[in-house]
Subunit: 387 residues, 2 copies
């Protein structure tokens, strides 16, 4: 596989950009020192400068101050730290938390852990395109609500929430607002300095950066309790020897994204949706046509299993996936598709396509042709066909 | 600095082995898929095979089964997961935990967090060379003791505990035994299959492997509660998209270590200790002469600040450190040196030397010469001199 595969699955596959590896290399092979302060030798200080530079660069991409950005081992850790950290640090002010039923697993399962610890969690419903109604959020907030966590965009169907309205509700109600921005960072312009968001999760591997590194925006003044104890790294909020090659690679990955690239990605994605809708019968677009992240399409091909499509596309050299990265090894129905009102048949027939830097417009022709053939073949042999 | 620097600080500096980077490269640039099961496309399955292979290789180095080894983001996370995870999973059987006063910060500060949650922690004292007396351990264990965490070797003074005796006490008392093996893995032969150790922390960056990756040995049947929620990775004990390049690099780093290398390292270290003791006046070796990890020397140069020595050696092109990696940015007295009965003067005058693969025997001549000069110069200008 490898070189000949057409990847339409950039959050779980494709590859790291070679320029990211080049940027990381000196911090693997030349200066591998632990970041230190002025009390130690000069390579430690240089290492700290590289870390600071990466932090500053990422903060600038996010529209926040460098002091408001901490490195973690990835989006999962960031969301755990945000959700559990904010809940535990503010538990003297209440024990009620609000989230949605379509969050990705790091948030969803952190909520479950908090429920076991005695917190009370409200799971907001979403509409049939995956949107949270800001009025529903407003109505859910009670006197003892301390935290709201609503994703910026959905990991499977790409629905882009009205983060302005949602975060403003929280600001008015004086409740901490966390958003999982894993699937928007780099691909959808937003400026944390202009939004009343208090905590935001971002990750590197979804933007052709390294695995094993992520970040959390912690707005100045937002109280969170560290979840990892040890040294005093990352403003005392995240212990552990800093992964400087990872941080440098993360910053480089964010730096390499251009507006043009995002427009090209959106054009390819739009063409894919249009053509699948018109050229393959009995399909449903999951998520909205417009307000979705530019890289994502998610389509149900009725009366066919998404897993079968994935396998047959794989044999033809296409990498797509069902569900989210966290999810793709389970055969359970997607909680996102059922969350937007889809039944199990719709959930099991859904396929997620994610475009990235390395896709070319001819990929759309190739995948549409392959999908048409695969879906028709599978429907021909399906026991459901003709029912 | 960089190329001309003589590193004697391998756990916090030196560099990653180029062969490790070569091993990681294909998993950055060619197959960057998320590890998946048979339900997905073939690159995901290949990625899972690479992860399994790395796990198997590391498990074989440790003398355990592949199923007993999980990947984490580093030693800090491993120790947090081991200590908090075991305490929380077994809290229905008791709330007493035993550790030592000279543990590294990930264990020590996890204990502090557990104390806030209502656990009762006993901190065993060590003798003047840093050893824990197995009889003290035995006497500390009560009916409600659920966990013991004692490091395999000390992060600063290199004292190698009698892990056989300590773990046997725990086995007899039916108490879970965790050991932080960060500074022994690769450098001191041990076989987890032969020892009644239940949990062991290891890390990659101390053996010329990548940062941001570590591991935890979880003996079959040992109950721990996951600390990071999300997907179902790592047997459900550690959520998060797997860092496959990191895992492959970790396995390669462990693979590259040879017995000969460890002997060479020990010879250099022994020569350094002998010469510093005989050629520099008023020095104290911290930790034992014999039962210490081969790469470590830790010496107090009385009436001189360790920080000053570090800075002056840095100007001459030598990288050494005071304290541990977690510690080196603080000016507090080392809790390890005070733990072995040293006063603040002894703690502040201590310097840690750590040998690695890239040291050569001439480094010993160079550092002894430089240290003699620096210490004499500093003593000449010290206000303490002549007191």
């Amino acid at each position: 596989m490898g070189e000949d595969t057409v990847y339409l699955d950039n959050s779980t596959s494709t590859r790291m950009d070679e320029r990211v590896l080049e940027a990381m290399k000196p911090y693997f092979l030349e200066n591998y020192a632990v970041a230190t302060s002025e009390f130690a030798y000069s390579d430690g200080i240089k290492a700290k400068e590289a870390l600071d530079e990466a932090r500053k660069s990422l903060a600038s991409s996010l529209g926040c101050e460098a002091e408001e950005f901490i490195f973690t081992s990835g989006g999962t850790e960031s969301s755990n730290l945000a959700v559990k950290g904010a809940a535990r640090a503010n538990s003297d002010e209440g024990n009620h938390i609000v989230t949605t039923e379509v969050e990705d697993f790091p948030v969803l399962n952190s909520m479950e852990a908090l429920e076991k610890d005695g917190f009370d969690v409200t799971y907001l419903e979403v509409d049939d395109e995956g949107f949270v109604d800001p009025t529903d959020l407003e109505n859910s907030i009670k006197d003892d609500t301390i935290l709201v966590s609503i994703q910026h965009a959905n990991q499977e169907i790409g629905t882009l929430q009205n983060i302005e309205a949602l975060s403003e509700v929280c600001e008015e109600e004086d409740v901490i607002f966390h958003t999982d921005a894993t699937h928007t960072f780099g691909r959808v312009p937003f400026n944390l300095g202009d939004l009343p968001v208090n905590l935001a999760t971002v990750s590197a591997h979804t933007i052709h950066g390294p695995k094993g590194i992520g970040g959390l925006y912690v707005e100045e003044g937002t109280q969170i309790e560290k979840q990892m104890d040890g040294g005093f790294q990352e403003k005392g909020l995240r212990a552990g020897v800093e992964n400087i090659p990872g941080a440098v690679g993360f910053a480089k990955a964010a730096d390499l994204i251009t507006e043009e690239e995002n427009e090209e990605i959106k054009d390819m994605r739009d063409e894919l949706i249009d053509r699948l809708m018109s050229e393959v019968s009995d399909t449903t677009l999951n998520g909205p046509r417009e307000d979705r992240i530019p890289q994502n399409a998610n389509v149900t091909f009725h009366r066919v299993e998404g897993e079968s499509i994935t396998l047959h596309l794989d044999m033809r050299g296409f990498a797509v996936s069902t569900g989210s990265a966290c999810f793709s090894r389970s055969l359970e129905a997607s909680h996102v598709i059922t969350g937007i009102g889809g039944d199990h048949e719709r959930a099991h027939g859904s396929v997620r396509f994610t475009f990235g830097r390395f896709n070319e417009s001819e990929d759309v022709d190739l995948i549409v042709e392959a999908i048409s053939e695969v879906v028709n073949e599978l429907r021909d042999i399906s026991p459901l066909e003709g029912d």
